[in-house]
């Protein structure tokens, strides 16, 4: 059973000089109790994907096609009150920028009280839960932290407070957009372990976005690889990391400084430029940067699938 099923989703932004297609024909499954990681170039549409699920696209953004099925309803068709319910209870999100989640003029205690408004608990109990969550994300001296305001915390502390708030809701789906960019390695591991524990305890699923490939490998059951608004490959973490099928995935893994053991001054990159999303080319979107590009790549490759490993690449065509 899939908690979330995205099918053929296309999203665009109105921009100066034409519309910019940020997502094109994106299909993703998030099975029950499963952690799905999304990786891909900066600007490839990961945050746009999340904002589409939550129906929080900015005014100039629109869903042009496709469906987003969550708990037997199509979120692309859901009205505003319905979405507010879902965002408050069934899906919780850790946004890329922790300041998006935190209100600068309210103390942490007040903000954590606010998000528990549906819990039916008394004020005292709510505060006790807030305290417990702050302790779990390892905020030092949580009692005094509750009384403080967001600007009094370091980048990583704000991130952890945002994570604590998202996890307090016990949702069916937890979405996390680069939740650990400001955390040191030991904390990162601790927070990931905490998220994993909570995920299995609450029994929720997770959509986890990160550029940190090591983290994705360690945390996720399944991985989706995106490029320029398209899904190029998806499969289990082992399939993606041990046996990548798409040339882009291969190049991406090679660029990870974590896979270079000896020290180097110049780090590997993927030469070439990201295609212009305002003028999408026909055919394979990675073509212009692919070392295996041939004539056939000017036509769009079909999605090929075996054992849950999906890829869009002519080299894999039978």
């Amino acid at each position: 059973m899939n908690v979330l099923e995205i099918r053929h989703l296309s999203v665009s932004f109105a921009a100066e000089g034409g519309s910019l297609q940020a997502l094109k024909d994106v299909s993703i499954d998030v099975p029950e109790h499963c952690i799905v990681g999304v990786v891909g170039e900066s600007g490839c549409g990961k945050s746009t994907l999340i904002n589409s699920i939550l129906r929080l696209l900015p005014d100039n953004g629109s869903i042009d096609a496709g469906s987003i099925h969550f708990e037997e309803q199509d979120l692309t068709q859901a009205g505003r009150p319905k979405m507010q319910d879902i965002r408050g209870q069934r899906i919780s999100t850790v946004f890329q920028d922790p300041m998006d989640a935190l209100n600068p003029v309210l103390s942490i205690a007040d903000q954590m009280l606010h998000i528990q408004y549906r819990s039916g608990l008394g004020r005292k109990e709510k505060n006790a839960r807030s305290l417990d969550m702050l302790r779990r994300v390892r905020i030092p001296d949580p009692e005094s932290a509750l009384k403080r305001y967001p600007h009094e915390f370091s980048g990583g502390m704000k991130q952890r407070i945002a994570i604590a708030m998202a996890m307090m809701m016990e949702p069916a789906l937890l979405i996390a957009d680069e939740p650990t960019t400001a955390l040191d390695a030991t904390l990162e591991v601790a927070i990931i372990k905490l998220m994993k524990d909570l995920q299995s305890h609450i029994g929720c699923s997770m959509l986890f976005i990160s550029h940190h490939l090591g983290l994705i490998a360690e945390l996720c059951d399944q991985v989706v690889v995106m490029y320029a608004g398209e899904v190029l490959e998806r499969g289990t973490a082992r399939q993606i990391f041990h046996n990548p099928w798409h040339p882009y995935t291969e190049r991406l893994l090679d660029c990870d400084p974590g896979s270079q053991s000896s020290r180097m001054r110049h780090l590997p990159t993927i030469p070439g430029e990201i295609p212009d999303l305002k003028k999408r080319q026909e055919g394979c979107i990675f073509r212009s940067r692919c070392q295996f590009c041939e004539d056939i790549c000017h036509a769009m490759p079909d999605e090929i699938q075996s054992n849950g490993h999906h890829v869009r690449c002519h080299r894999r065509s039978p």
Binding site: S42, D184, H242
Partner: protein
């Protein structure tokens, strides 16, 4: 020597208004930086890295110690004296979107350093050149910050920081939120500048893989203090402070089947309002003995390496009780 930081201390007041208490976020930090050198600062979240960076850049009042940049004192209270120094010392902020003013277009943001320091140039051309240096096409000049992805905003921060070709860049998490390929591009760009212009860099990062590749020397901070510093490769090869060893053991591998042996930290993160006695790491240190809870350690020097620990680790030391994570 381009920068010298001596016994620097930053104190905040925290707590409710009726009970404001001082917290020392940066304590007795000293280090020197040579022209062209890359110095990494790593450490626990909340250990004072950003505060230290702001103090060096003259954005944060200090309570003790001094910062000398190109032989001039950086003093927040004399903003007129600090402004010209900033032409040679630029800052990349940890929060990429928040540090860009939302009403300005990208083109104006990138041109801003030239305007602030009254440098006459063909601004249009400069903006195009800088955008292409950070891998963004020219039409980004017409966008507003909220129309950028997180990584694109980060790259605008890079473009602004390198605009005036400074002597020193203080980069606070410059590659957080960038994918590995763009991260490589940004780091290679900084490394080219360093070769071409002798740019020095303070590089704050949680990404230890990156630190390993780019930094000549590094310092490890814990609760506002530097607990270990030295040559990057030597520290990665054989961490001497238990906190450093813990940190290095936590780096995740890009392979789902290779979960590492990790040194796990016991007990809660101490509060700055209530610093532990003796060695401040003793409450969580797997190797701690009695002496550590009462006596503060001095910095022990051997060559370039400085360690604040009563019993620095031998190379390859295993913790008394290693736990397997996963």
């Amino acid at each position: 020597m381009i920068l010298s930081v001596r016994d620097l201390e930053v104190t905040f007041r925290a707590g409710p208004w009726f009970n404001r208490r001082p917290i020392v976020a940066v304590a007795k930090v000293s280090f020197d930086l040579d022209a062209g050198e890359t110095f990494a600062i790593v450490g626990e979240s909340g250990s004072g890295k950003t505060t230290l960076a702001h103090a060096i850049n003259g954005l944060q009042e200090t309570s003790n110690g001094e910062v000398l940049f190109m032989d001039e004192k950086v003093d927040v209270s004399r903003s007129r004296a600090v402004k010209p120094l900033r032409r040679h010392m630029s800052m990349m902020f940890q929060d990429p979107v928040g540090s860009l003013s939302p009403r300005m277009k990208v083109g104006d943001l990138v041109a801003e350093p030239f305007i602030i320091h009254k440098i006459r140039k063909n601004l249009k051309e400069e903006v195009q050149r800088l955008l292409s240096l950070v891998g963004l096409s020219g039409d980004f000049a017409d966008r507003y910050p909220h129309q950028l992805s997180g990584g694109q905003a980060r790259r605008i921060g890079v473009a602004r920081a390198i605009a005036l070709e400074p002597e020193l860049i203080i980069a606070d998490e410059p590659t957080a939120g960038l994918d590995v390929s763009v991260q490589g591009e940004v780091l290679n760009l900084l490394s080219d500048l360093r070769e071409r212009l002798g740019l020095a860099m303070i590089f704050i990062s949680h990404n230890l893989h990156v630190v390993h590749h780019v930094a000549d020397r590094m310092a490890v901070m814990y609760l506002g203090r530097i607990v270990e510093s030295g040559n990057t490769e030597e520290i990665f090869g054989a961490p001497a402070h238990p906190y450093t060893a813990t940190l290095l053991s936590a780096i995740p591998n890009p392979d789902p089947d290779k979960v590492r042996e990790r040194i796990s930290l016991s007990s809660e993160v101490p509060s700055l309002l209530n610093r532990p006695s003796g060695c401040e790491f003793h409450t969580r240190c797997p190797w701690a003995h009695e002496r550590c809870s009462t006596e503060s350690p001095y910095h022990q020097n051997s060559g370039l390496r400085r360690v604040a620990c009563h019993a620095p680790l031998d190379p390859g030391a295993q913790p008394p009780c290693a736990e397997r994570a996963g």
